[in-house]
Protein backbone atom coordinates (compact mmCIF):
# COMPACT_ATOMS: atom_id res chain seq x y z
CA UNK A 1 0.00 0.00 0.00
CA UNK A 2 1.41 3.35 -0.96
CA UNK A 3 2.14 5.76 1.87
CA UNK A 4 0.94 9.33 1.79
CA UNK A 5 3.62 12.00 1.55
CA UNK A 6 4.41 13.42 5.00
CA UNK A 7 3.29 16.90 3.94
CA UNK A 8 -0.19 15.52 3.17
CA UNK A 9 -0.90 14.36 6.72
CA UNK A 10 1.62 16.02 9.06
CA UNK A 11 -0.41 19.10 10.03
CA UNK A 12 -3.54 17.09 10.75
CA UNK A 13 -1.69 14.47 12.78
CA UNK A 14 0.10 16.87 15.07
CA UNK A 15 -2.78 19.34 15.55
CA UNK A 16 -3.84 18.02 18.94
CA UNK A 17 -5.61 21.18 20.01
CA UNK A 18 -8.49 19.65 21.90
CA UNK A 19 -10.96 21.83 23.77
CA UNK A 20 -10.86 20.85 27.44
CA UNK A 21 -14.24 19.91 28.90
CA UNK A 22 -13.45 18.90 32.48
CA UNK A 23 -10.80 21.49 33.33
CA UNK A 24 -10.23 25.09 32.38
CA UNK A 25 -7.54 26.19 29.97
CA UNK A 26 -5.65 27.69 32.91
CA UNK A 27 -5.74 24.38 34.76
CA UNK A 28 -4.59 22.51 31.69
CA UNK A 29 -1.72 24.91 31.09
CA UNK A 30 -0.80 26.47 34.46
CA UNK A 31 1.40 29.55 34.27
CA UNK A 32 4.29 28.05 36.20
CA UNK A 33 4.70 25.28 33.67
CA UNK A 34 3.36 26.79 30.46
CA UNK A 35 4.32 30.43 30.90
CA UNK A 36 2.45 33.62 31.66
CA UNK A 37 3.09 35.29 28.36
CA UNK A 38 0.40 37.53 27.00
CA UNK A 39 -0.14 35.57 23.81
CA UNK A 40 -3.72 34.93 22.62
CA UNK A 41 -4.92 31.32 22.67
CA UNK A 42 -5.41 31.21 18.90
CA UNK A 43 -1.83 32.33 18.28
CA UNK A 44 -0.31 29.19 19.80
CA UNK A 45 -1.49 26.98 16.94
CA UNK A 46 0.41 29.20 14.47
CA UNK A 47 3.76 27.95 15.83
CA UNK A 48 5.42 26.52 12.75
CA UNK A 49 8.35 24.28 13.50
CA UNK A 50 11.00 24.67 10.80
CA UNK A 51 12.05 21.03 10.91
CA UNK A 52 9.29 18.54 10.29
CA UNK A 53 9.76 14.84 10.72
CA UNK A 54 7.52 11.83 11.26
CA UNK A 55 8.09 9.24 13.95
CA UNK A 56 8.83 6.60 11.32
CA UNK A 57 11.46 8.81 9.72
CA UNK A 58 12.90 9.77 13.09
CA UNK A 59 13.37 6.19 14.24
CA UNK A 60 14.97 5.18 10.97
CA UNK A 61 17.46 8.06 11.03
CA UNK A 62 18.30 7.61 14.70
CA UNK A 63 18.89 3.89 14.23
CA UNK A 64 21.40 4.69 11.52
CA UNK A 65 23.12 7.29 13.68
CA UNK A 66 23.40 4.92 16.60
CA UNK A 67 24.72 2.16 14.36
CA UNK A 68 27.40 4.52 13.05
CA UNK A 69 28.55 5.75 16.45
CA UNK A 70 28.51 2.37 18.18
CA UNK A 71 30.21 0.58 15.28
CA UNK A 72 33.12 3.03 15.30
CA UNK A 73 33.44 2.56 19.04
CA UNK A 74 33.36 -1.23 18.69
CA UNK A 75 35.98 -1.15 15.94
CA UNK A 76 38.34 0.98 18.02
CA UNK A 77 37.59 -0.54 21.41
CA UNK A 78 40.80 -2.52 21.58
CA UNK A 79 42.89 0.53 20.88
CA UNK A 80 44.53 1.73 24.07
CA UNK A 81 43.51 5.35 23.75
CA UNK A 82 45.97 6.58 26.31
CA UNK A 83 48.93 5.18 24.42
CA UNK A 84 47.74 6.82 21.20
CA UNK A 85 46.69 10.32 22.16
CA UNK A 86 48.14 13.22 24.11
CA UNK A 87 47.28 13.36 27.84
CA UNK A 88 45.77 16.79 27.23
CA UNK A 89 43.14 15.15 25.08
CA UNK A 90 42.35 12.60 27.82
CA UNK A 91 41.72 15.55 30.14
CA UNK A 92 39.43 17.13 27.57
CA UNK A 93 37.41 13.91 27.49
CA UNK A 94 37.13 13.74 31.28
CA UNK A 95 36.09 17.37 31.52
CA UNK A 96 33.48 16.89 28.82
CA UNK A 97 31.97 13.69 30.16
CA UNK A 98 31.90 14.89 33.78
CA UNK A 99 30.17 18.11 32.84
CA UNK A 100 27.86 16.90 30.08
CA UNK A 101 26.71 13.25 30.31
CA UNK A 102 24.08 13.43 33.06
CA UNK A 103 23.05 16.92 31.97
CA UNK A 104 21.86 15.27 28.77
CA UNK A 105 19.45 13.14 30.79
CA UNK A 106 18.17 16.29 32.49
CA UNK A 107 17.75 17.83 29.05
CA UNK A 108 15.48 14.88 28.27
CA UNK A 109 13.35 15.86 31.26
CA UNK A 110 13.28 19.42 29.96
CA UNK A 111 12.04 18.32 26.56
CA UNK A 112 9.45 16.06 28.20
CA UNK A 113 8.04 19.14 29.90
CA UNK A 114 7.55 20.69 26.46
CA UNK A 115 5.63 17.57 25.47
CA UNK A 116 3.15 18.17 28.26
CA UNK A 117 3.13 21.91 28.97
CA UNK A 118 3.87 23.66 25.67
CA UNK A 119 0.81 25.47 24.37
CA UNK A 120 1.71 24.86 20.73
CA UNK A 121 1.11 21.46 19.18
CA UNK A 122 4.13 21.88 16.92
CA UNK A 123 6.34 22.52 19.93
CA UNK A 124 4.93 19.49 21.75
CA UNK A 125 5.73 17.38 18.69
CA UNK A 126 9.28 18.74 18.44
CA UNK A 127 9.65 18.24 22.19
CA UNK A 128 8.80 14.55 21.81
CA UNK A 129 11.68 14.01 19.41
CA UNK A 130 13.93 16.28 21.44
CA UNK A 131 13.24 14.19 24.53
CA UNK A 132 14.22 11.01 22.69
CA UNK A 133 17.32 12.78 21.36
CA UNK A 134 18.51 13.72 24.82
CA UNK A 135 17.94 10.25 26.24
CA UNK A 136 20.09 8.91 23.41
CA UNK A 137 22.79 11.48 24.18
CA UNK A 138 22.85 10.52 27.85
CA UNK A 139 23.11 6.84 26.95
CA UNK A 140 25.94 7.44 24.48
CA UNK A 141 27.95 9.67 26.77
CA UNK A 142 27.60 7.31 29.71
CA UNK A 143 28.44 4.24 27.65
CA UNK A 144 31.46 5.58 25.76
CA UNK A 145 33.55 6.58 28.81
CA UNK A 146 32.51 3.46 30.72
CA UNK A 147 35.17 1.31 29.04
CA UNK A 148 37.88 3.51 30.61
CA UNK A 149 36.56 3.35 34.19
CA UNK A 150 38.28 0.08 35.23
CA UNK A 151 41.70 1.59 34.57
CA UNK A 152 41.00 5.25 35.30
CA UNK A 153 38.45 6.12 37.95
CA UNK A 154 38.31 9.78 36.90
CA UNK A 155 36.16 8.68 33.95
CA UNK A 156 33.50 7.66 36.48
CA UNK A 157 32.69 11.35 36.92
CA UNK A 158 30.66 10.95 33.73
CA UNK A 159 28.13 9.06 35.82
CA UNK A 160 28.63 10.23 39.39
CA UNK A 161 30.12 13.71 39.03
CA UNK A 162 26.86 15.57 38.62
CA UNK A 163 25.75 14.34 42.04
CA UNK A 164 28.86 15.75 43.70
CA UNK A 165 29.58 19.15 45.23
CA UNK A 166 32.67 19.77 43.15
CA UNK A 167 32.91 23.49 42.40
CA UNK A 168 32.91 22.91 38.64
CA UNK A 169 29.88 20.68 38.92
CA UNK A 170 28.09 23.21 41.12
CA UNK A 171 28.71 25.79 38.40
CA UNK A 172 27.20 23.53 35.76
CA UNK A 173 24.27 22.52 37.95
CA UNK A 174 23.50 26.15 38.85
CA UNK A 175 23.49 27.03 35.17
CA UNK A 176 21.34 24.15 33.97
CA UNK A 177 18.95 24.32 36.92
CA UNK A 178 18.41 27.98 36.08
CA UNK A 179 18.22 27.71 32.30
CA UNK A 180 16.75 24.28 31.80
CA UNK A 181 15.05 22.72 34.80
CA UNK A 182 13.08 25.40 36.64
CA UNK A 183 11.39 27.65 34.08
CA UNK A 184 8.18 27.46 32.10
CA UNK A 185 8.14 25.87 28.64
CA UNK A 186 8.23 29.13 26.70
CA UNK A 187 11.11 30.65 28.66
CA UNK A 188 13.08 27.41 28.55
CA UNK A 189 12.78 27.16 24.80
CA UNK A 190 14.34 30.63 24.48
CA UNK A 191 17.00 30.15 27.13
CA UNK A 192 18.08 26.64 26.26
CA UNK A 193 17.04 25.78 22.72
CA UNK A 194 17.63 29.16 21.15
CA UNK A 195 20.42 30.84 23.10
CA UNK A 196 22.33 27.84 24.41
CA UNK A 197 21.86 25.23 21.71
CA UNK A 198 21.81 27.26 18.51
CA UNK A 199 24.67 29.35 19.79
CA UNK A 200 27.02 27.49 22.02
CA UNK A 201 26.63 23.74 21.58
CA UNK A 202 28.05 24.21 18.08
CA UNK A 203 31.28 25.23 19.75
CA UNK A 204 31.49 22.14 21.87
CA UNK A 205 30.21 19.61 19.39
CA UNK A 206 31.48 20.84 16.03
CA UNK A 207 34.66 22.46 17.28
CA UNK A 208 35.64 19.56 19.48
CA UNK A 209 34.68 17.04 16.81
CA UNK A 210 37.40 18.42 14.54
CA UNK A 211 39.85 18.53 17.40
CA UNK A 212 39.00 14.93 18.37
CA UNK A 213 39.69 13.64 14.88
CA UNK A 214 42.93 15.62 14.71
CA UNK A 215 43.92 14.24 18.10
CA UNK A 216 43.35 10.68 16.87
CA UNK A 217 40.20 10.00 18.91
CA UNK A 218 37.80 8.91 16.18
CA UNK A 219 35.28 7.36 18.59
CA UNK A 220 34.67 10.68 20.30
CA UNK A 221 34.67 12.56 17.01
CA UNK A 222 31.96 10.25 15.66
CA UNK A 223 30.05 10.38 18.94
CA UNK A 224 29.70 14.12 19.09
CA UNK A 225 28.98 14.45 15.39
CA UNK A 226 26.12 12.08 15.97
CA UNK A 227 24.87 14.17 18.88
CA UNK A 228 25.25 17.47 17.07
CA UNK A 229 23.05 16.25 14.22
CA UNK A 230 20.22 15.94 16.78
CA UNK A 231 21.04 19.26 18.42
CA UNK A 232 20.83 21.02 15.07
CA UNK A 233 17.21 19.83 14.79
CA UNK A 234 15.79 20.30 18.27
CA UNK A 235 17.67 23.57 18.83
CA UNK A 236 15.12 25.03 16.43
CA UNK A 237 12.32 24.62 18.95
CA UNK A 238 13.01 28.08 20.33
CA UNK A 239 13.20 30.11 17.13
CA UNK A 240 9.50 30.07 16.14
CA UNK A 241 8.64 30.70 19.80
CA UNK A 242 10.80 33.79 19.77
CA UNK A 243 9.10 34.97 16.60
CA UNK A 244 5.69 34.41 18.19
CA UNK A 245 6.66 36.37 21.30
CA UNK A 246 7.89 39.28 19.23
CA UNK A 247 4.72 39.31 17.11
CA UNK A 248 2.56 39.34 20.22
CA UNK A 249 4.12 42.19 22.16
CA UNK A 250 6.58 40.20 24.27
CA UNK A 251 9.73 41.43 22.53
CA UNK A 252 11.22 43.03 25.64
CA UNK A 253 10.90 39.85 27.69
CA UNK A 254 12.26 37.80 24.81
CA UNK A 255 15.30 40.07 24.55
CA UNK A 256 15.91 39.83 28.29
CA UNK A 257 15.77 36.03 28.20
CA UNK A 258 18.27 35.95 25.34
CA UNK A 259 20.57 38.38 27.14
CA UNK A 260 20.50 36.31 30.35
CA UNK A 261 21.05 32.97 28.64
CA UNK A 262 23.72 34.18 26.26
CA UNK A 263 25.94 35.53 29.03
CA UNK A 264 25.44 32.55 31.31
CA UNK A 265 26.26 30.19 28.42
CA UNK A 266 29.33 32.19 27.52
CA UNK A 267 30.77 31.91 31.01
CA UNK A 268 30.20 28.15 31.13
CA UNK A 269 31.81 27.57 27.75
CA UNK A 270 34.91 29.58 28.58
CA UNK A 271 35.88 26.63 30.76
CA UNK A 272 34.19 23.76 28.93
CA UNK A 273 35.46 24.69 25.47
CA UNK A 274 37.77 27.69 25.72
CA UNK A 275 40.38 26.08 27.93
CA UNK A 276 40.65 22.75 26.03
CA UNK A 277 40.83 24.45 22.64
CA UNK A 278 43.62 26.85 23.56
CA UNK A 279 45.56 24.83 26.14
CA UNK A 280 44.76 21.08 26.18
CA UNK A 281 44.72 20.21 22.47
CA UNK A 282 48.33 19.65 21.34
CA UNK A 283 49.59 22.63 19.39
CA UNK A 284 50.08 20.76 16.12
CA UNK A 285 46.55 19.34 16.30
CA UNK A 286 44.60 22.55 16.88
CA UNK A 287 41.94 23.42 14.35
CA UNK A 288 41.85 27.06 15.42
CA UNK A 289 41.81 29.23 18.51
CA UNK A 290 38.81 29.49 20.79
CA UNK A 291 38.53 33.13 19.81
CA UNK A 292 38.38 32.18 16.13
CA UNK A 293 35.64 29.63 16.81
CA UNK A 294 33.76 32.20 18.86
CA UNK A 295 33.98 34.74 16.08
CA UNK A 296 32.74 32.28 13.49
CA UNK A 297 29.99 30.56 15.43
CA UNK A 298 28.85 33.25 17.80
CA UNK A 299 29.86 36.74 16.72
CA UNK A 300 28.80 36.15 13.13
CA UNK A 301 26.21 33.39 13.03
CA UNK A 302 24.37 33.96 16.28
CA UNK A 303 24.12 37.69 15.75
CA UNK A 304 22.70 37.05 12.29
CA UNK A 305 20.01 34.85 13.78
CA UNK A 306 19.18 37.52 16.37
CA UNK A 307 18.93 40.24 13.78
CA UNK A 308 16.81 38.05 11.48
CA UNK A 309 14.27 37.90 14.29
CA UNK A 310 14.39 41.64 14.93
CA UNK A 311 16.24 41.35 18.22
CA UNK A 312 19.26 43.38 19.21
CA UNK A 313 22.68 42.25 20.32
CA UNK A 314 22.80 41.85 24.10
CA UNK A 315 23.40 45.18 25.87
CA UNK A 316 26.81 43.99 27.10
CA UNK A 317 28.13 43.21 23.61
CA UNK A 318 31.30 45.28 23.98
CA UNK A 319 32.07 43.59 27.31
CA UNK A 320 31.54 40.24 25.65
CA UNK A 321 33.86 41.02 22.72
CA UNK A 322 36.62 42.02 25.15
CA UNK A 323 35.97 38.87 27.16
CA UNK A 324 36.54 36.62 24.13
CA UNK A 325 40.14 37.80 24.13
CA UNK A 326 40.71 37.45 27.83
CA UNK A 327 38.40 35.57 30.14
CA UNK A 328 39.29 31.93 29.54
CA UNK A 329 43.00 32.63 30.03
CA UNK A 330 42.28 33.59 33.63
CA UNK A 331 40.14 30.50 34.09
CA UNK A 332 42.97 28.37 32.70
CA UNK A 333 45.39 29.83 35.24
CA UNK A 334 42.82 29.14 37.95
CA UNK A 335 41.90 25.60 36.99
CA UNK A 336 45.54 24.63 36.56
CA UNK A 337 46.54 26.25 39.87
CA UNK A 338 43.71 24.58 41.79
CA UNK A 339 44.17 21.31 39.86
CA UNK A 340 43.81 19.13 43.00
CA UNK A 341 40.12 20.17 43.05
CA UNK A 342 39.44 18.76 39.57
CA UNK A 343 38.47 15.29 38.37
CA UNK A 344 40.96 15.53 35.53
CA UNK A 345 44.53 16.71 35.14
CA UNK A 346 44.65 20.00 33.26
CA UNK A 347 47.36 20.57 30.71
CA UNK A 348 49.32 23.76 31.33
CA UNK A 349 49.77 24.40 27.61
CA UNK A 350 52.39 27.10 28.16
CA UNK A 351 55.62 25.68 26.76
CA UNK A 352 57.69 28.16 24.70
CA UNK A 353 56.03 27.22 21.40
CA UNK A 354 52.55 27.31 22.93
CA UNK A 355 53.27 30.76 24.33
CA UNK A 356 54.29 31.99 20.88
CA UNK A 357 50.99 30.69 19.54
CA UNK A 358 49.03 32.32 22.38
CA UNK A 359 50.82 35.65 21.79
CA UNK A 360 50.02 35.43 18.08
CA UNK A 361 46.34 34.61 18.67
CA UNK A 362 45.94 36.89 21.69
CA UNK A 363 48.38 39.80 21.41
CA UNK A 364 49.51 40.95 24.85
CA UNK A 365 49.14 37.51 26.46
CA UNK A 366 52.80 37.38 27.54
CA UNK A 367 52.63 40.75 29.30
CA UNK A 368 49.54 39.84 31.28
CA UNK A 369 48.65 36.18 31.85
CA UNK A 370 52.19 35.23 30.89
CA UNK A 371 53.53 37.17 33.88
CA UNK A 372 51.63 34.88 36.27
CA UNK A 373 52.84 31.81 34.38
CA UNK A 374 56.40 33.14 34.64
CA UNK A 375 56.16 32.93 38.44
CA UNK A 376 54.67 29.43 38.27
CA UNK A 377 57.38 28.27 35.88
CA UNK A 378 60.12 29.63 38.13
CA UNK A 379 58.72 27.56 41.00
CA UNK A 380 58.56 24.47 38.79
CA UNK A 381 62.13 25.00 37.58
CA UNK A 382 63.19 24.87 41.24
CA UNK A 383 61.17 21.69 41.67
CA UNK A 384 58.83 23.45 44.11
CA UNK A 385 55.53 22.03 42.89
CA UNK A 386 53.93 22.72 46.28
CA UNK A 387 54.39 26.45 45.76
CA UNK A 388 52.26 26.29 42.59
CA UNK A 389 49.08 25.32 44.47
CA UNK A 390 47.38 28.11 46.45
CA UNK A 391 46.66 27.46 50.09
CA UNK A 392 43.31 29.18 49.91
CA UNK A 393 40.25 29.22 47.68
CA UNK A 394 39.45 31.65 44.89
CA UNK A 395 36.47 33.94 45.38
CA UNK A 396 33.63 32.47 43.39
CA UNK A 397 31.07 34.45 41.36
CA UNK A 398 27.60 34.23 42.88
CA UNK A 399 26.10 33.88 39.39
CA UNK A 400 28.45 31.80 37.25
CA UNK A 401 29.91 29.93 40.25
CA UNK A 402 33.35 30.00 38.67
CA UNK A 403 36.32 31.96 40.04
CA UNK A 404 36.30 35.73 39.67
CA UNK A 405 39.18 36.26 37.26
CA UNK A 406 40.47 39.08 35.12
CA UNK A 407 43.45 40.11 33.07
CA UNK A 408 46.46 40.78 35.32
CA UNK A 409 47.29 44.49 35.65
CA UNK A 410 44.12 45.39 33.72
CA UNK A 411 40.72 44.05 34.58
CA UNK A 412 40.80 41.85 37.69
CA UNK A 413 38.06 43.20 39.92
CA UNK A 414 35.00 42.41 41.97
CA UNK A 415 31.48 43.47 41.01
CA UNK A 416 29.84 43.38 44.45
CA UNK A 417 26.20 43.78 45.38
CA UNK A 418 24.56 43.93 48.79
CA UNK A 419 21.14 42.37 48.86
CA UNK A 420 19.08 41.81 52.00
CA UNK A 421 22.13 42.29 54.20
CA UNK A 422 24.32 39.78 52.35
CA UNK A 423 27.30 40.77 50.25
CA UNK A 424 27.40 39.01 46.88
CA UNK A 425 30.37 38.89 44.53
CA UNK A 426 30.21 38.77 40.77
CA UNK A 427 32.82 38.30 38.08
CA UNK A 428 31.37 40.85 35.69
CA UNK A 429 28.74 43.53 35.22
CA UNK A 430 26.46 41.16 33.23
CA UNK A 431 26.67 38.50 35.98
CA UNK A 432 25.53 41.08 38.53
CA UNK A 433 22.84 42.35 36.14
CA UNK A 434 21.42 38.83 35.78
CA UNK A 435 21.14 38.56 39.56
CA UNK A 436 19.38 41.92 39.71
CA UNK A 437 16.76 40.78 37.19
CA UNK A 438 15.34 38.32 39.72
CA UNK A 439 17.26 38.45 43.02
CA UNK A 440 14.98 36.09 44.92
CA UNK A 441 15.62 33.42 42.30
CA UNK A 442 19.34 33.40 43.12
CA UNK A 443 19.80 34.90 46.58
CA UNK A 444 19.73 31.72 48.66
CA UNK A 445 22.33 29.83 46.66
CA UNK A 446 25.79 29.42 48.20
CA UNK A 447 29.04 29.10 46.32
CA UNK A 448 31.65 26.66 47.59
CA UNK A 449 33.31 29.58 49.45
CA UNK A 450 29.99 30.63 51.01
CA UNK A 451 29.52 27.04 52.19
CA UNK A 452 32.98 26.95 53.71
CA UNK A 453 32.42 30.22 55.56
CA UNK A 454 28.98 29.05 56.74
CA UNK A 455 30.57 26.03 58.42
CA UNK A 456 28.98 23.54 56.03
CA UNK A 457 32.35 22.02 55.11
CA UNK A 458 34.18 20.18 57.86
CA UNK A 459 36.98 20.20 58.67
CA UNK A 460 37.18 23.77 57.34
CA UNK A 461 40.52 23.31 55.62
CA UNK A 462 41.69 22.34 52.15
CA UNK A 463 41.50 18.64 52.99
CA UNK A 464 37.90 19.04 54.09
CA UNK A 465 37.09 21.10 51.02
CA UNK A 466 38.54 18.47 48.69
CA UNK A 467 36.59 15.71 50.37
CA UNK A 468 33.41 17.81 50.21
CA UNK A 469 34.04 18.18 46.47
CA UNK A 470 34.31 14.42 45.97
CA UNK A 471 38.07 14.40 45.56
CA UNK A 472 39.51 11.26 47.09
CA UNK A 473 35.94 9.96 47.28
CA UNK A 474 34.83 9.51 43.68
CA UNK A 475 38.37 9.54 42.34
CA UNK A 476 41.73 11.16 42.87
CA UNK A 477 42.04 14.83 42.04
CA UNK A 478 44.02 16.31 39.21
CA UNK A 479 47.70 16.91 38.68
CA UNK A 480 49.53 18.25 35.66
CA UNK A 481 48.44 16.38 32.52
CA UNK A 482 52.01 15.99 31.28
CA UNK A 483 53.56 15.47 34.70
CA UNK A 484 55.50 18.74 34.27
CA UNK A 485 57.60 17.40 31.37
CA UNK A 486 56.94 20.65 29.52
CA UNK A 487 58.99 22.56 32.12
CA UNK A 488 62.20 21.01 30.76
CA UNK A 489 61.99 23.36 27.77
CA UNK A 490 62.62 26.23 30.20
CA UNK A 491 65.66 24.67 31.85
CA UNK A 492 68.92 25.91 30.39
CA UNK A 493 71.79 23.46 30.07
CA UNK A 494 73.17 24.38 33.49
CA UNK A 495 69.78 23.79 35.10
CA UNK A 496 69.33 20.54 33.22
CA UNK A 497 72.72 19.27 34.33
Amino acid sequence: MALLERSEWYDIARRTEWTPGYVSDEELYPEGHSGDYDIPSEAWSTYDEPYKISYREYVDIQRQKDAGAYSVKAALERMDLRSKVDPGWISTLKLHYGAVSVVEYNAGLMESRFVRWARSPGMRNMGTFGMLDEIRHAQLQLFFPHEYVPTDRQFDWAHSGMKSNNWGIIAGRHFFDDMMMTRDAVSTSILLNFAFETGFTNLQFIGLSSDAANAGDFSFSKLIQSIQSDEARHAQIGTPMLAMMIENGEKERAQRLVDVAFWRSWKLFTILTGIPMDYYIPLDRREGSFKEFMQEWIVTQFVNSLEDLGLAKPWYWDIFLADIDEHHHGQQLGTWSWRPTLWFSPAAGVGPDERDWLEEKYPGWNDTFGKCWDVIIENLKRGDIGRTVPGTLPIICNMSNIPIVGTPFKTTQDYPLEYNGRLYHFGSEPDRWIFEQDPERYAAHKTIVDRLLAGEIQPPDLGGVLQYMGIGVLSDGGGDAHDYEWVSAYLDSADAA
Binding site: H329, G330, L333, P394, I395, D414, E418, H425
Partner: protein, 86 residues
Amino acid sequence: MAAFPLAVNFYGDFVLKLLVVDTEHTMAQVAEAATENVIGLHVAGEGGVIRARRSGETEPLPLDMTVAEAGLAPTETLDFYYEEAS
Protein backbone atom coordinates in the same frame (compact mmCIF):
# COMPACT_ATOMS: atom_id res chain seq x y z
CA MET B 1 39.23 39.06 68.35
CA ALA B 2 37.38 37.15 65.70
CA ALA B 3 38.15 35.49 62.41
CA PHE B 4 37.09 37.69 59.54
CA PRO B 5 36.96 36.73 55.83
CA LEU B 6 38.07 39.11 53.10
CA ALA B 7 38.51 38.92 49.34
CA VAL B 8 41.98 39.80 48.11
CA ASN B 9 42.43 41.53 44.77
CA PHE B 10 46.20 41.92 44.46
CA TYR B 11 47.53 44.09 41.64
CA GLY B 12 49.04 41.85 38.98
CA ASP B 13 47.08 38.75 40.00
CA PHE B 14 44.47 37.11 37.79
CA VAL B 15 42.00 36.04 40.46
CA LEU B 16 40.39 37.16 43.70
CA LYS B 17 41.40 35.02 46.67
CA LEU B 18 39.86 34.30 50.04
CA LEU B 19 41.80 35.51 53.08
CA VAL B 20 40.76 34.98 56.69
CA VAL B 21 42.25 37.52 59.11
CA ASP B 22 41.56 38.70 62.63
CA THR B 23 39.38 41.72 63.36
CA GLU B 24 42.22 43.21 65.43
CA HIS B 25 44.78 42.93 62.63
CA THR B 26 45.99 46.19 61.17
CA MET B 27 45.96 46.88 57.47
CA ALA B 28 49.74 46.38 57.46
CA GLN B 29 49.25 42.91 58.93
CA VAL B 30 46.40 42.16 56.54
CA ALA B 31 48.58 43.20 53.59
CA GLU B 32 51.36 40.94 54.79
CA ALA B 33 48.92 38.04 55.13
CA ALA B 34 47.53 38.75 51.67
CA THR B 35 50.91 38.15 50.05
CA GLU B 36 51.04 34.54 51.25
CA ASN B 37 48.97 33.15 48.39
CA VAL B 38 49.96 35.76 45.86
CA ILE B 39 53.60 36.83 45.90
CA GLY B 40 55.91 34.15 44.60
CA LEU B 41 52.92 32.06 43.59
CA HIS B 42 51.17 34.08 40.90
CA VAL B 43 52.74 37.54 41.18
CA ALA B 44 56.47 38.24 41.15
CA GLY B 45 56.26 41.07 43.65
CA GLU B 46 58.08 44.35 43.47
CA GLY B 47 59.07 44.94 47.06
CA GLY B 48 57.98 47.98 49.04
CA VAL B 49 54.98 48.95 51.09
CA ILE B 50 51.74 47.21 50.27
CA ARG B 51 48.57 49.24 50.71
CA ALA B 52 44.95 48.17 50.79
CA ARG B 53 41.94 50.11 49.68
CA ARG B 54 38.29 49.27 49.45
CA SER B 55 37.33 48.03 46.03
CA GLY B 56 36.47 50.95 43.79
CA GLU B 57 37.98 53.62 46.06
CA THR B 58 41.12 55.62 45.37
CA GLU B 59 42.48 56.26 48.87
CA PRO B 60 44.15 53.45 50.83
CA LEU B 61 43.12 52.52 54.35
CA PRO B 62 45.65 53.67 57.00
CA LEU B 63 48.30 51.06 57.70
CA ASP B 64 47.56 51.14 61.45
CA MET B 65 43.79 50.89 61.08
CA THR B 66 42.38 47.57 62.26
CA VAL B 67 39.89 45.45 60.35
CA ALA B 68 37.28 46.22 63.00
CA GLU B 69 37.92 49.96 62.78
CA ALA B 70 37.65 49.90 58.99
CA GLY B 71 34.03 48.71 59.27
CA LEU B 72 34.44 46.18 56.50
CA ALA B 73 31.69 43.74 55.59
CA PRO B 74 32.51 40.03 55.74
CA THR B 75 34.10 38.93 52.43
CA GLU B 76 34.41 42.54 51.26
CA THR B 77 37.02 42.94 48.55
CA LEU B 78 40.18 44.93 49.25
CA ASP B 79 42.45 45.96 46.41
CA PHE B 80 46.12 45.50 47.35
CA TYR B 81 48.97 47.21 45.56
CA TYR B 82 52.54 48.31 46.01
CA GLU B 83 52.50 51.97 46.92
CA GLU B 84 54.86 52.84 44.08
CA ALA B 85 52.73 51.02 41.51
CA SER B 86 49.47 52.86 42.18
